[in-house]
Structure formats: C-alpha cells, structure tokens
C-alpha cells in the first residue's frame, strides 16, 4: 500500500478533529476531537514506521529499524491517558461552578 494513502487518511481524520474543535462549544466534545487528532497522528507514525521497516528489511533480514516509532506511539498513549484524567477533572470542576460545559466560560480566564 503506498504511503500516500495513509497520509491522506490521517490528514482527513486530523482535519475532522480540527473542524470539531473550531465548531463545537461543548467542552467534552472539544476534548474528544483532540483525542481524535492524537489518534490520527498515532496511525501515521505506525504507517511511517512500517514504511521504514520495509525498506530496512531489504538490506538486512533481521533488522528492527522502525521500532522507535511504535515505542513513541506507546508513550503518546500513556501521556494521553494522563492528560484525559486531569482534563476531565478540570471540566467537572468547571461544571460544578457554572452548571454548564460551555467552552466560552473559559473566556473569563483572561481577566
């Protein structure tokens, strides 16, 4: 499978995430769109790692080139899990204070 197909797929998913962040006002949905963007990047990293690995296999059959990208994806997932736990705690606190999950409430932070 040519690498371009994977790039186009991931770009589409990433752009859908960007559109979601720009057009929705529910803080939870905005958060979910950020997760979508993270996953698009993860998929592209794995595709690139396999591209690199395929090229390296032709030079030496025992090569493990490209394994770094998959480790990287693993760490992205770890960081995303930590980020979600703190972010959702902040959204819950925001909901407790204002009884809404409107993202525009965060405008007040600038004062």
């Amino acid at each position: 499978m040519p690498i371009q197909y994977y790039i186009f797929l991931c770009l589409t998913l990433f752009s859908i995430g960007v559109i979601g962040v720009l057009t929705r006002r529910n803080a939870i949905i905005v958060f979910m769109c950020i997760e979508l963007m993270l996953n698009a990047v993860n998929l592209l990293l794995v595709a690139f790692s396999k591209m690199y690995h395929g090229a390296a296999l032709q030079l030496s059959p025992t090569s493990t080139a490209g394994i770094d990208a998959q480790i990287f994806v693993f760490f992205i997932m770890v960081v995303a899990a930590a980020e979600v736990s703190v972010g959702l705690a902040i959204i819950v606190m925001m909901f407790r204070n204002t009884h809404s999950v409107d993202i525009n409430f965060l405008n007040r932070l600038k004062n």
Binding site: I7, L22, K50, I71, V78, V92, V101
Partner: protein
C-alpha cells in the same frame, strides 16, 4: 483489487464516517459511542500493519479506559441535549471552511513531494509490532522514559484527586 486493499478502504471509510458522526451528533453520549467506533477502525488498521501490540493497547486504553471515563463524566453531569449552547451559523461555517482549507493545503503539499513517490508500507509482515521486540526495546533502550512515565501517571493521579476534591 486484493483483499488487503478492500479491507483498507472499508476501514478507512468506516473511520472517516464515524469521525464525521462524532461532530454531527447532538447527544454527547452518541458522540462518545461513535468515537469508540473510530478507535476500533484505527485498531483494525494497526492489525493490518501487523502492529498487534498497539492494536490491543489502543482498544484497552482508548476504547476501554478513556472512553469509559468520558461516558462516566457525561452521565454524571446529566447534560441536556437541547441545553447545549450552539455557535452561530457563520462561526460554524468559518470553522468548517478553515478546517477544509487546512486539509486541502496539506493534501496539495503531500501530492507535490517527490520523496514519497513509490514508497510502500509493509503490510501484514515484519515483526517489529509484536510484543517480544517491543518489550525488549522498551526495557533496554527506553527504560528511563518508561520509569518517568510512571511518575507522570502518579502526578496526574494526584492532580486529578486534588482538582476533584475542591
């Protein structure tokens, strides 16, 4: 068309349609359920690329843990569907336009590059996605980031508890 291509196109279409439904759904719970479907499609892509460890971790961590957390929070808040404030139509249009322009720009950029011509992704072969090589790399070359990530988890846990207690 080979079976591999059919599966690739089907999974891609499934992922994109589900991702659009995440945005379109009015009810946040439906959005979460569509997002879980996106994650399953992406896990299918990982299996297709023979990255089996990441496929399983994606399902366990994302579809299993993170999305359940989202569902818990949404059900805890009990947000009404018609209560959700909507952006103005013009803002929505501008947002969709800017996102579409970003997509167009990046696709044009990728189409122009000559370095990617003829590069093939290795499908369903290669052993780097299996548990044994990944675990070996994780506990030899990457053991320090692995330990640091545990500290990160601890601090995230403490942070969430402190923010939640107030």
């Amino acid at each position: 068309m080979s079976t591999l291509e059919i599966i690739f196109y089907a999974l891609s279409a499934f992922a994109i349609v589900s991702a659009i439904m995440v945005l379109v759904s009015k009810n946040p719970i439906h959005s979460v359920l569509w997002l879980i479907l996106v994650f399953f499609a992406i896990s299918g892509h990982y299996v297709l690329l023979n990255a089996q460890f990441l496929a399983i971790v994606n399902i366990i961590v994302y579809a299993g843990a993170i999305m359940v957390l989202f569902l818990f929070v949404i059900m805890l808040m009990n947000v009404k569907v018609d209560n959700e404030p909507q952006k103005k139509m013009i803002i929505k249009f501008i947002g969709a336009l800017s996102g579409g322009s970003l997509l167009l720009l990046l696709v044009a950029l990728v189409k122009q590059t000559t370095q990617l011509e003829g590069k093939q992704v290795l499908m369903k072969e290669g052993t780097i996605g299996l548990i044994h090589p990944l675990g070996q790399a994780l506990f030899t070359d990457y053991v320090l980031p692995f330990e640091i990530s545990s500290v990160l988890f601890l601090s995230a846990m403490v942070g969430a508890v402190i923010i939640g207690k107030k």
